[in-house]
């Protein structure tokens, strides 16, 4: 078996700088139907030990974003521009050999579906110990010991026995715990979790999220939590970035996102979270329509066709990201709660625009 490569990743330690800083990242796929702009100019930064939630519908580009940040997308037919600075190094400038030194030991990823992300014909034990042996350079016994400790720490009963199991012999929640153990195994400074709880029962979801939070605290890792569910990130992140059609449309500290929502899309996401306090059979306020095609994005604001507050300008001209308060950015011409939004809403309601009509019916005032 190959030992750890002598070529080692040496982080440039400057604690003042953010751990991860993404600058104007674009990821376009060349497809037979045209250029698909999956990620179209995304910037954010993340400090050591902090958690960033990236929220958006399916197809908003959040999974591509996380893979693009890590550099996991294959080179062919993908155009990537912008910079991804991790601990002072630009990941986009690295070759495959250098990237391998970063993957697993510095940055690791938790995948959406633990059924497909674990190799079905390789025992759990091997899937954990292989990176410990190859990347961390542990010998067989030490790797095994570490694997048992990892499995125990992610809450897997009788971990010694589980090392010999195959993925299909575990439940979904157990598999996701194994995946977390693998992601944590080489002590990364940053974990990218891509919809880590989507395939799981609600009760298991909470357990897995709690586990992630506690592991993150213990190991003082930074984490990017990618999800379609604003409820998932509400209590667990320091900062939230809302993505729509390949762009960040609102970004703020978690409490501010909920307290001082600017972007109508964010507002719509918040309204679509089921509330326990609401009487039974309350209809959820779904977002009308579908996200735009990333092959041929609309000229103006990408959310305008579904937005109850959109006016002519929104359809014509894409709004830039503006600062509402320090750390709070949003891209909207008629932010929630402004007179402009109220005027546009009234006009849209009278014109019978489905989004505005649905809002009016549920008694939502702008």
């Amino acid at each position: 078996m190959r030992r750890a490569d002598p070529l080692r990743f040496a982080p440039v330690e400057d604690m003042a700088d953010p751990l991860l800083s993404v600058e104007d990242l674009r990821t376009h796929f060349r497809t037979p139907a045209g250029v698909l702009r999956a990620v179209d100019g995304v910037s954010f930064s993340l400090d050591r030990g902090k958690t960033l939630g990236i929220v958006g519908e399916s197809g908003s580009g959040k999974t591509v974003l996380s893979r693009s940040v890590m550099g996991l997308l294959s080179q062919s037919s993908v155009d990537r521009s912008g910079r991804v600075l991790f601990a002072g190094h630009d990941l986009t400038a690295m070759g495959p050999r250098e990237l391998r030194q970063v993957w697993g030991t510095q940055v690791s990823m938790i995948f959406q579906d633990p059924m497909t992300a674990l190799n079905p014909v390789v025992r759990i034990g091997r899937q954990i110990t292989e990176s410990l042996r190859i990347r961390a350079g542990l010998d067989r016994a030490a790797a095994r010991q570490t694997a048992v400790a990892l499995l125990a720490s992610v809450g897997i009963p009788s971990p010694e026995r589980r090392l010999r199991s195959y993925p299909h012999e575990l439940s979904g929640g157990m598999r996701q715990r194994v995946m977390i153990a693998i992601a944590l195994s080489c002590g990364p400074k940053l974990v990218l979790a891509d919809e880590p709880t989507t395939g799981l029962d609600v009760t298991i979801q909470a357990q897995i999220l709690d586990l992630l939070s506690s592991e993150q605290r213990e190991r003082s890792m930074a984490m990017v939590l990618v999800t379609h569910d604003l409820g998932v990130v509400a209590g667990r992140t320091d900062h939230i970035a809302v993505m729509y059609a390949g762009r960040i449309v609102e970004s703020a500290p978690t409490a501010v996102v909920f307290r001082d929502t600017k972007m109508p899309y964010t507002e719509a996401l918040i309204r679509s979270i089921p509330k326990l306090a609401a009487p039974s059979h309350t209809r959820l306020l779904a977002i009308e329509g579908r996200p735009p095609s990333l092959l041929d994005p609309p000229e103006g604001c990408a959310f305008a066709p579904r937005c109850p507050y959109a006016d002519d300008r929104c359809h014509r001209e894409a709004p830039p990201l503006r600062e509402a308060s320090p750390g709070h950015l949003y891209a909207c011409w008629n932010p929630v709660g402004t007179p402009a939004a109220a005027r546009a809403f009234e006009a849209n309601r009278q014109a019978g625009l489905p989004a505005a009509v649905a809002y009016a019916r549920s008694g939502v005032a702008p």
Binding site: Q101, G104, A117, L118, V122, S131, I134, H168, C186
Partner: protein, 319 residues
Amino acid sequence: MLGEPVLKYLITRLVQLVAVVFVISVLAFLLVHLLPGDPSVTILGPFDTAAARAEVLRQLGLDKPLPLQYLTWLGNVLHGNLGESFLTKESVSHAIAQAFPIDLELVVLSQIIAFAVAIPLAMVAARRPNKAFDRLSSTFTFGLLSVPAFILAVLLVLVFAVSIHAFPATGWTNLTSNLGQNLRSAILPSIALGAGSVAVYFRLLRSDLISTLQEDYITMARAKGLPTRYILFRHALRPSSFSLLASAGINIGSLLTGAFVVEYLFQLPGIGYQIVESISSRDYLMVQGMALVVAVAFVVVNFAVDFLLVLLDPRIRRA
């Protein structure tokens, strides 16, 4: 090592195996009765009396009811007695013991060669589908597939035996008498025999590898920072090898008998060669014994492959 589900699977398959072998034995037994021509004529010649013919049939037990004949025959077979040739009086089991190892060796060697060419080619080709190397190896293997074995055999003999004198053109040296000579006499026929398999194995493994390499668990393995070669061998090869193995099982079985063209060209007294000879001389018991052995070998090979698949894919074990 083997868990309970594996043992259970093994036992079920063994029961099936026995059932299939039983059917084969019945068919092999009936074969003699289905072939045209009267064995007594073959033995005595066309000019003897009806009484003499009846006497021959009685001696051979051919006047008894069929099920009884079958049981007697089966008892003999289980004792290794497959009868003897009407023509040469050679014992059938002896003839098989002479001929079968040749085929076994040819098939094993040809498959080793086919795997040794197809697997590395497919692994390199699958990493960059539709790029130069992939296209080149697809063309090369298809070329091999489209050249009939008898033409390839002649070409091999022309180049390696007639021009270079590297290998003998014809003839066979037994494995036990001289290993070096044996391999020299086996190498050209094995290449001729295995060439067609290369294309099939390459295609199967290549396309399975390409789809496996797009699986999440491969991306996950990359995200762990594992070296590319390690990922190919440890994570991609095994889950991509199932259809390759299944087709190898069937292929090996048919090569056991399909080798006769190659055997003929290289003058190797293998079982395919013997069967053709025996059929043309209506040597029924010879045909029967050899067909039985080949059919059982076919079933056993496929049983072994199935078992290998179970070992390779833990998910089947629950079925």
